[in-house]
């Protein structure tokens, strides 16, 4: 535990020392939110200010949008999904630091010291979870400033639960990327994997559009995509979009993340047994 803590503090210190990176890593999600989220204004699309337009039609449109998105404001829908997608990308970036530690020799230093090998893996995962915590909080604050509509009567428990869901998802994702990084010899491999995995994972989930609107084949993929479950749970807590079952997505997400964590841990330890 001691060594994990020492190395975790190194991760934090390095990250804090790199403020420009912090600013830059916020730009992409903010662009998504401010430009994409704000321009696709679902409600005003159907809000026709015209005499004779029956009030009942208007109400039906509202009802349908509420049913699908859980909010009349697409920005709020997207922002809650982006919190999850952002964690996906940050988990991937977490692996890059491992590749650099290998390439710059720091890993040799760690491997020759009498620390448990597991602490090297754990410190990296904890570092990634820490970064995601801070960045998600900042992103959420920015979303609030841009007009994010939280569910009526939101409590601290909801916020903590949403945070817990994001961390749970990140645990699994960070483990995959860390494992890849322990085996990869340059960071380009990691970026290629990121491009290959992240965008499909994002678009086949409910992070950007609701599952119900998808064609059946896509819906089938979305239902097994952990991003979907995490986004649905986060949205339930922050936006108030109802869930047919709370336990089911949570169980699926937990199974996904814990499996990947354990497999990733085992594989990473194997890779640390010998360096050349």
């Amino acid at each position: 535990m001691g060594a994990t803590l020492v190395l975790f503090r190194r991760e934090v210190k390095k990250w804090v020392g790199r403020r420009p990176v912090f600013v830059m890593s916020m730009i992409t999600p903010l662009i998504w939110l401010a430009l994409f989220g704000k321009s696709l204004n679902l409600y005003s699309m159907f809000n026709v200010e015209q005499p004779g337009f029956a009030e009942v039609v208007q109400r039906l449109v509202e009802q349908r949008i509420m049913e699908l998105f859980g909010t009349l404001d697409y920005f709020t829908y997207l922002a809650s999904g982006m919190l999850v997608v952002f964690a996906l990308f940050q988990s991937a970036f977490g692996g890059v630091g491992i590749v650099f530690d290998k390439r710059l020799g720091y890993m040799t230093r760690l491997l020759v010291s009498p620390i448990p090998r597991v602490s090297i893996f754990m410190a990296k995962i904890l570092g990634t979870l820490f970064r995601i915590t801070i960045l998600s909080a900042v992103l959420f604050a920015a979303a609030l400033a841009l007009g994010f509509q939280v569910k009526p009567g939101i409590t601290a428990v909801d916020l903590l639960a949403a945070w817990g869901v994001i961390l749970l998802l990140s645990l699994g994702l960070a483990s995959i990327y860390a494992t890849m990084a322990f085996y990869a010899n340059n960071h380009e491999v990691l970026f290629a994997a990121m491009n290959l995995i992240n965008l499909p994972l994002m678009f086949t989930s409910s992070a950007i559009f609701p599952r119900e609107q998808m064609p059946s084949w896509l819906r089938a993929i979305a239902s097994i995509n952990p991003i979907t479950h995490a986004a649905d749970l986060v949205r339930y807590h922050l936006v108030g979009r109802p869930l047919s079952s709370y336990a089911e997505p949570l169980a699926l997400l937990a199974a996904f993340s814990l499996t990947l964590f354990l497999v990733g841990l085992a594989l990473s330890l194997r890779s640390l047994r010998e360096v050349s």
């Binding site: 790199r18 020799g105 010291s113 009498p114």
Partner: protein
């Protein structure tokens, strides 16, 4: 058991078909500077990596202070300090932070960790620069920081893998002084180098390693005494006289004498004994320079392997052939 601080027995490492280290055995005694001297690619770093538990040997065994590198790697890691050939410090952090993390990784906390970090940095003369980021350090400072990071846990055995590689003469001498200081503290030091001056200056005993094998071992003096005598270079104003002079020297003094351009190269047992009669013989000849070359480890290496220590420039056909022959076997 405690006779050797570092004991290697038939240590072997294969990478596929290549035998990087071939049945290497040696014993470094407590308080000794033991040097592995050989050209690049001789297997020095691979040997150190195995001893430091970073690589699993294909065959053979080694012990550090009696701890087996195969069965007790944890104890070995506590006992040793490694200064690898490549720089390892985190250049986004300060020197102080790097050394302090190192102290904490070895289980020291609070004041004790800080005290050790300060001592290591002070010893390596880095305290003034301690709170600067490592990325601002010069090459010599970075090397010294590497040593400082390896010293925080007061290891009894220190591995230095090409510690002065790429340093200028001044930084090199500075580091040599510090290594001598560490030796005085009683540490056993395994030093790999391809600079023969470095091995001569620091090592109590030298193992000459080539193509993964130790080809000779002994103190620098012992190794040099393998080369018979000394070499006298006589440089003439007129190259045309070299042939004749070489012949008459060989005839009159019974020594090996060889013309090489405008110079006659004379091999003698001892320059002190031969010089008086040699000077008598050559008086009147247009000699512009007399140079006496004492044998050094470079020549020992040349004698043993037929090649020079430093051949890193360009593609070396001979070396390539030897390597591929070794692979085929």
């Amino acid at each position: 058991m405690e006779e050797c601080s570092i004991k290697a027995k038939n240590l072997t490492k294969r990478f596929g078909q290549l035998i990087a280290v071939n049945r290497v055995s040696f014993c470094a005694r407590p308080g000794e500077v033991y040097s592995l001297l050989g050209p690049n690619g001789a297997g020095k770093t691979t040997t150190i990596k195995m001893l430091a538990t970073l690589l699993q040997p294909t065959a053979g065994e080694a012990w550090i202070k009696g701890y087996s590198i195969l069965r007790e790697p944890h104890h070995v890691r506590r006992t040793i300090g490694l200064v690898p050939q490549d720089l390892t410090a985190d250049d986004e952090l300060t020197g102080w932070e790097n050394v302090l993390i190192q102290a904490r990784l070895y289980g020291y906390s609070g004041n004790e960790a800080e005290k050790r970090a300060r001592e290591a940095l002070e010893f390596m003369g880095l305290m003034e620069a301690a709170h600067r980021k490592v990325s601002t350090y010069s090459g010599g400072m970075r090397r010294r920081l590497e040593v400082a990071m390896s010293l925080v846990h007061s290891p009894e055995v220190l591995f230095l893998d090409e510690p002065t590689l790429g340093l200028d003469v001044q930084s090199r001498r500075h580091l040599w002084g510090l290594i001598e200081e560490l030796k005085k503290q009683g540490k056993t030091i395994l030093l790999t180098t391809h600079y023969m001056e470095e091995a001569e200056a620091l090592a109590d005993r030298v193992a000459i390693i080539d193509l993964g094998k130790i080809v000779a071992e002994g103190s620098p003096e012992e190794l040099k005494s393998r080369i018979k005598g000394e070499v006298i270079h006589l440089k003439l104003r007129d190259p045309g006289l070299a042939n004749g002079l070489a012949e008459s020297l060989a005839r009159e003094l019974g020594v090996e004498a060889e013309p090489k351009g405008d110079t006659v190269v004379v091999r003698v047992q001892s320059s002190g004994e031969t010089l008086p009669s040699l000077i008598r013989l050559v008086s009147g000849m247009p000699i512009v320079e007399i140079r006496i070359v004492k044998p050094n480890l470079e020549e020992v290496f040349l004698e043993l392997t037929g090649r020079r220590l430093r051949e890193e420039e360009g593609f070396d056909v001979f070396r390539f052939r030897v390597m591929s022959r070794r692979v085929r076997r």
